[in-house]
């Protein structure tokens, strides 16, 4: 992009800006560094995906942003700015006014997120009247409308039903209705479809996609499912050992993975269109313990490119920005530039090609 074009581009408005956020859990085994100075931003209406395996810190990141980290965990550094306000300095009382209104959360498990002894209708009404100056009658009408929006059949009649009378997919759609009840600017969805079957997952993603597009709501989708982020997200953040090790535009990332972890992670996903009968490519070993991180790059012990290199084993890589400066690929790898440029000396060997 030329400088003139860059200057003419509209200033992007950020709904969320996270800077150097850091969260520790103080456990018997030591200090678990779940989120290690993570920075990210989300534009209005943008959909970002945070992907990573269990223990990569992606859920801890979401809870840290929302001020929901509980002891023995604690946010120990960094800042979170939502709609221009520094919410990381807010008290619990102030955060309660923010959550459910400006930012809301969709959990993985709707059975634990919903109150089992309160009707579905009352739970939605409750969220509306807590944050909006309207009466219960009006809130009730809005709640029925929301249930229709998320495609619950016979919405009016099903307002009085309790969570156990809804199926898993419908409960998840109710959570989406609750999350959108006050038209928030940002929805954080933590594995919202993981417990669901594929056809139900497709229904839920369909509803979520339509509703956030209609409302221009930004979404932070946290998942281990790379297929789901490929279909849903504009920008992808890959987490490993509490850090964002690669972030890029979704089209760019799926075309080329600059961090070796991203590449091997994508390759270990079984895909119908490229099945081979031989053994599957695997990532050797396990993710490092967040209480005892390696001295150098956290991925070095498992890395097909860096394992055994002294630089990788001893020095933590700094983030490197590559490609389009307006939409950069940011990668934490000592050989990010070489890999981005396609240097064959730093490619991940294909199985069978050795």
């Amino acid at each position: 992009m030329s400088e003139a074009a860059a200057a003419a581009a509209p200033v992007r408005e950020h709904v969320l800006e996270v800077r150097e956020l850091e969260t520790n859990f103080y456990t018997a085994e030591g200090v678990v560094r779940a989120v290690r100075k993570v920075s990210l931003e989300i534009e209005r209406g943008q959909r970002i995906g945070v992907v990573g395996e269990s223990g990569s810190g992606k859920s801890a990141l979401a809870l840290s942003i929302l001020g929901l980290i509980e002891p023995p965990g604690r946010v120990v550094g960094g800042s979170v700015v939502l709609n221009g306000r520094l919410i990381s300095s807010f008290s619990d009382g102030q955060m309660q006014k923010v959550r459910g209104k400006e930012v809301s959360l969709v959990f993985q498990d709707p059975m634990t997120a919903l109150d089992p002894v309160m009707s579905i209708g009352d739970q939605i009404v409750e969220v509306i009247v807590r944050h909006q100056p309207i009466g219960r009658r009006a809130a009730r009408r809005a709640a029925v409308e929301l249930l229709r929006d998320v495609e619950v059949p016979n919405a009016e009649r099903r307002m009085g039903d309790y969570p156990h009378q809804y199926s898993g997919g419908m409960r998840q759609r109710v959570l989406i209705a609750i999350a959108l009840a006050n038209e928030p600017d940002l929805v954080i969805a933590d594995e919202p479809t993981t417990a669901l079957d594929v056809t139900t997952q497709a229904q839920v993603l369909d509803v979520l996609e339509r509703l956030v597009a209609e409302r221009n709501t930004a979404v932070m989708l946290i998942t281990h499912n790379l297929g789901v982020v490929a279909e849903f997200c504009d920008r992808i953040f890959v987490m490993y050992a509490g850090r964002v090790v690669e972030q890029a535009d979704a089209d760019v990332l799926f075309a080329r993975q600059t961090h070796p972890y991203t590449e091997v992670l994508l390759r270990s996903v079984l895909r119908a269109d490229r099945l081979e009968r031989g053994p599957l490519p695997t990532i050797p070993g396990f993710p490092p313990s967040l209480a005892q991180l390696p001295a150098g790059c956290p991925f070095e012990p498992r890395c097909p490119v860096g394992h055994g290199r002294e630089l990788c084993a001893t020095v933590v890589p700094e983030p490197v920005s590559l490609g389009d400066p307006a939409d950069p690929v940011v990668v934490e790898c000592h050989f990010a530039r070489e890999r981005f440029d396609g240097d064959p000396g730093f490619a991940v060997a294909r199985p069978g090609s050795a």
Binding site: D197, G227, F254, A272
Partner: protein
């Protein structure tokens, strides 16, 4: 296009040839009573498994695919007789399991083992890895103490748990390692048939690949036959020699993966395949996904027509689909389907996708 010779004796996928079939499942039913209260009882019947038949040949991996509530786990438990089927028969190597009881049943169970989905819940937290694997030998009265210990250690080594680790308890292992212990426990008795009930669903993707590689390696080395229960279609395609897709307790389609996934004939299979998100960004940003309306729930009572009809993009408005249950028929050699209009939905999609 007809679904097969009408009125012919179509025993779906079954060749009750003991030379070939290690497992033969013959018209298994499982009916549960639901609703009502404990005092009043209930007369609502839920047909979780509704006349399912198939055979599993020696050395093959047979996949049972379907979404939650389709009856696949109930079916597996009926085969093992962990729950009693309401009707039908199960044969293992020519012996009718459904006719056995007591000691005979216990003895034959040694020949068929199960690996459960959840490596957290299925291992006793107070026992060491070695004790967990040894326990099966104790139950079946095999070997003396020293022999059992050696056999357990050998089995654990085979799945990649080192001698230094065998006295550790489940919580000291990762999820993938725990699943390996579950596999060792199932294999220590030298079973012929291993039922794998969603063995990788609870694991991270990189670990899933490790466990699948291990299972395939063990199958080749030990000549095992697998009945693989899985909801993930891509895993089924990769791992199985034949696959049956279950819908509401019955087989919708049964074929080798090349047939089933390349040329699916049942609209439900087509919809399932279209719903799987692919980790890729193509120029046509989104593939045409069929979003099924409604819910998958086991059927109470009996529907006169096709069990998929209420949700079927093809049969929703067709009289024959609403009134007649389609038989499971062999549409092409080895490719069985239960549909009045096999292949029509896939063909329509292919036609609309062409430029």
């Amino acid at each position: 296009m007809s679904a097969g010779p009408a009125g012919a004796a179509l025993e779906p996928g079954v060749r009750a040839d003991p030379e070939q079939a290690l497992l033969w499942v013959d018209r298994i039913d499982k009916v549960f009573r639901v609703g009502g209260s404990r005092l009043r009882g209930s007369n609502e019947l839920l047909r979780a498994v509704d006349g399912v038949s198939f055979d599993v040949r020696k050395g093959e991996t047979f996949g049972l695919v379907g979404e939650s509530g389709c009856g696949k786990s109930t079916l597996a438990r009926c085969i093992l007789r962990l729950i009693e089927p309401s009707g039908g028969r199960v044969f293992l190597g020519g012996t009718e399991l459904t006719a056995l009881d007591g000691g005979d049943l216990r003895r034959i169970r040694r020949r068929m083992q199960i690996v459960f989905q959840d490596p957290y819940a299925s291992l006793d937290p107070r026992m060491s890895a070695r004790a967990i694997v040894e326990e099966a030998l104790v139950i079946h009265g095999m070997g003396d103490r020293a022999e059992r210990g050696a056999r357990a250690a050998e089995m654990l080594a085979l799945v990649g748990i080192t001698p230094a680790q065998i006295l550790r308890r489940p919580h000291e292992f990762s999820g993938g390692q725990r699943q390996r212990i579950g596999v060792a426990r199932a294999l220590v008795l030298n079973p012929e048939l291993v039922i794998l009930d969603e063995p990788i669903s609870a694991l991270d993707v990189s670990i899933q690949a490790q466990v699948l590689n291990l299972l395939r390696d063990l199958q080749e080395r030990l000549g095992l036959t697998y009945l693989f229960i899985v909801h993930d279609l891509v895993v089924a395609e990769y791992f199985c020699d034949r696959v049956a897709v279950l819908y509401r307790g019955a087989v919708a389609e049964l074929a080798a993966p090349e047939q089933l996934f390349r040329t699916p004939l049942h609209p439900y299979t087509v919809a399932l395949l279209s719903a799987v998100p692919i980790p890729e960004r193509s120029t046509r940003k989104r593939r045409e996904r069929i979003v099924l309306r409604g819910e998958l729930a086991p059927v109470s009572g009996t529907l006169p027509g096709c069990r998929f009809q209420p949700r079927c993009p093809l049969g929703r408005d067709r009289e024959v689909c609403a009134s007649q249950e389609p038989p499971l028929a062999e549409h092409e050699p080895g490719h069985w389907v239960s549909c009045h209009f096999p292949g029509e939905l896939a063909a329509a999609r292919a036609a609309s996708a062409a430029p």
